[in-house]
């Protein structure tokens, strides 16, 4: 589904990331594991096309994303990649439903309210569509963030530290949520984490920072 080759990223002249080769099958679930500062977020950003690597090739869904122009890359990301950020970052000025419509609009896709309602209902959030982000509980906000990431049926779903600051029960719920939603749209799931609690739940691990 995606393939990284001879990937290297330097920051201020020193290497922060080295990925000789990593390939993932469609629909596979992966964890990128490693301690803080091992480059997990950087790798995720490169996979998402947010950051261009210093060297190496990144192919997502058959597309060499290094060959895309900045605007094409933005469009590609919007249509094929869903991202759940660590701090969620819902747009505070927009209601829940508008946060989801925003994802469709900015990706250049038709605004499909039926799809939005379907995703919200699926996540048991149908009654919160008119709420503003500050009116939501953390769990609800996380589900909205996931909903926003999957509303365009991405082929690749990325999540950055989705379980940090969560208690044990919620930690597993969050993981379950991501896996269920990724499966629902057939997306490859990559979770960057240093959370020991979920390591045993996902079999594919890509270790960074010398950890295994």
């Amino acid at each position: 589904m995606f393939e990284l080759k001879n990937l290297r990223h330097a920051y201020n002249g020193s290497d922060v990331l080295n990925v000789p080769a990593w390939e993932a099958d469609p629909g596979a679930h992966w964890l990128v594991v490693g301690p803080s500062g091992s480059g997990k977020t950087t790798l995720l950003h490169i996979l998402a096309g947010i950051l261009r690597p210093t060297a190496g090739a990144v192919t997502v869904a058959g597309q060499d994303i290094g060959a895309l122009s900045p605007t094409e890359l933005d469009r590609f990301r919007g249509q094929h990649i869903g991202i759940v950020l660590q701090r969620l970052h819902l747009v505070a000025s927009l209601t829940v439903i508008n946060n989801l419509l925003l994802a469709q609009y900015l990706a250049g896709l038709p605004q499909d309210r039926q799809r939005v309602n379907e995703v919200l209902a699926n996540l048991d959030l149908g009654d919160r569509r008119g709420a503003y982000p500050h009116e939501l509980s953390h769990g609800q906000a996380q589900r909205i963030a996931v909903a926003r990431a999957v509303v365009n049926r991405p082929q690749l779903l990325l999540a950055d530290e989705p379980t940090s600051n969560l208690d044990d029960q919620r930690c597993l719920q969050a993981l379950d949520l991501l896996e269920t939603q990724a499966r629902a749209c057939g997306a490859t799931l990559v979770i960057a984490t240093h959370d020991q609690r979920i390591k045993s739940r996902v079999s594919n691990h890509y270790p960074l920072g010398g950890q295994s």
């Binding site: 977020t41 950087t42 950003h45 998402a48 947010i50 950051l51 900045p70 605007t71 933005d74 469009r75 990301r77 919007g78 249509q79 991202i83 950020l85 701090r87 970052h89 747009v91 505070a92 000025s93 927009l94 508008n98 419509l101 925003l102 994802a103 469709q104 609009y105 900015l106 990706a107 250049g108 605004q111 926003r148």
Partner: protein, 399 residues
């Protein structure tokens, strides 16, 4: 969901800030609108009152005063001119038409003007009731005089000496209203028209009572003579002829009103400058608001990029927000300007001055809308550029 929805949502999320910026811009635009409307209508009104009058012959003194007293009936006359000399001028070959004016009395602050029917014809004024004056002491009232004084055809009144309110009354010489003019929006609305003979009669009776002297036709006087040229060439001959060959002086309405407006213009320029300062500070305020908002919003901008928005889209979003603020400010400003002008017009009307209305539109207002949008977009330029330059990976890595 589109750029407008997003911009609007952001403006609503900061509604107090938005309201203040809109209000600031609106005040500036409103002030300029008011100035535009008021000066435009004033100039238009003064031009219409002076239309077709090329020259005024009056007693020596300030030429501006001659124009203000004989055409606009705002100032006191400089004095009287001999009728015989006025008749000489009327016969000059460079003169097409003359209208005599005899001033001196008033009724409740409205001037009583002794003239002939040509004066009414000159302004194309129509009668709303009655007929034009015939015998001495017949009067025709301007629309505003009739309305304010509550006079109608058939009623009698006595004039007061002097053209300001509160002069001694000519109690022994009552005028009779024989006609009322339809409103014309011109100086006629505020005048009481009668024959020149009526004015002489009122004043002769005074004099004869005082001095028993018999006034000859040759000694009769009027106040001013309105002159229309026979040809453009007359402008080169007639003023000099009048100034050199009579005790009168010639005053040109076009020249004097232009001079008057250049005097008023200083005040208008100061106000306009003040309004532009307001607009400029509104622009600055919009800039500060957008620039500060950018800090609060950098994660939003980064998130929008992850959702597929291009750099240019974010730039457009910021510019659109500036334009939206400016649009609200400009629209509110124009509306406010028209309402304020109308309010000013009503205050001025109560003070018996010129009529100003807010329910008219001048083409310069299109430039005001352009100015408002320009200010909004320029204020948004730097924030928009910063939005364009935002490094999303770095921003997201920070939090």
């Amino acid at each position: 969901m589109n750029l407008a929805t997003i911009s609007f949502a952001y403006l609503r999320a900061r509604s107090l800030n938005t309201a203040l910026n809109v209000l600031l811009l609106a005040l500036g635009i409103a002030t300029i609108t008011l100035l535009l409307l008021a000066t435009d209508q004033l100039e238009d009104r003064m031009q219409r009152d002076a239309r077709g009058i090329d020259l005024v012959a009056g007693a020596k003194g300030s030429p501006l005063q001659v124009i203000l007293s004989a055409i606009y009936h705002l100032d006191v006359p400089t004095g009287n001119i001999p009728l015989a000399q006025a008749k000489e001028i009327a016969k000059h070959r460079a003169v097409k038409k003359t209208i005599p004016l005899a001033l001196g009395d008033s009724y409740r602050g409205f001037r009583i003007v002794g003239t002939n029917h040509d004066y009414v014809a000159h302004y194309d004024a129509k009668l709303a009731a009655g007929r034009l004056w015939g015998k001495p002491m017949d009067t025709v009232l301007g629309a505003e005089v009739a309305q304010r004084a509550g006079l109608s055809v058939g009623m009698k009144f006595t004039g007061a000496h002097g053209i300001a309110e509160g002069g001694t009354e000519h109690g022994d010489a009552p005028y009779e209203v024989v006609g009322v003019l339809a409103p014309s929006g011109l100086v006629l609305d505020r005048l009481v028209l009668t024959s020149v003979e009526s004015v002489w009669l009122v004043h002769d009776e005074h004099q004869s009572a005082d001095s028993q002297a018999k006034v000859n036709e040759e000694d009769k006087e009027i106040t001013a003579l309105l002159i229309q040229y026979a040809s453009p060439l007359a402008a080169a001959i007639l003023p000099r002829y009048i100034n050199n060959n009579s005790t009168m002086q010639a005053a040109s309405p076009a020249y004097e009103t232009a001079r008057l407006f250049s005097i008023i213009g200083v005040g208008v320029d100061v106000l306009r400058g003040f309004a532009l300062v307001l607009v400029f500070s509104a622009g600055l305020s919009v800039f500060i608001a957008l620039y500060n908002a950018l800090n609060e919003r950098r994660y939003d901008l980064a998130v929008m990029r992850t959702l597929g928005a291009s750099r240019r889209r974010l730039m457009a979003l910021m510019l659109f927000e500036g334009a939206l603020l400016a649009g609200f400010g400009g629209a509110l400003g124009l509306a406010l300007g028209h309402v304020l002008t109308e309010a000013l017009g009503r205050v001025l009307k109560a003070a018996q001055q010129v009529t100003v209305t807010g329910w008219s539109w001048v083409s310069a207002e299109f430039w005001l809308i352009a100015l408002a949008f320009g200010v909004g977009v320029v204020a948004a330029l730097l924030p928009a550029w910063r939005a364009y330059r935002t490094d999303i990976a770095q921003t997201l890595a920070q939090g």
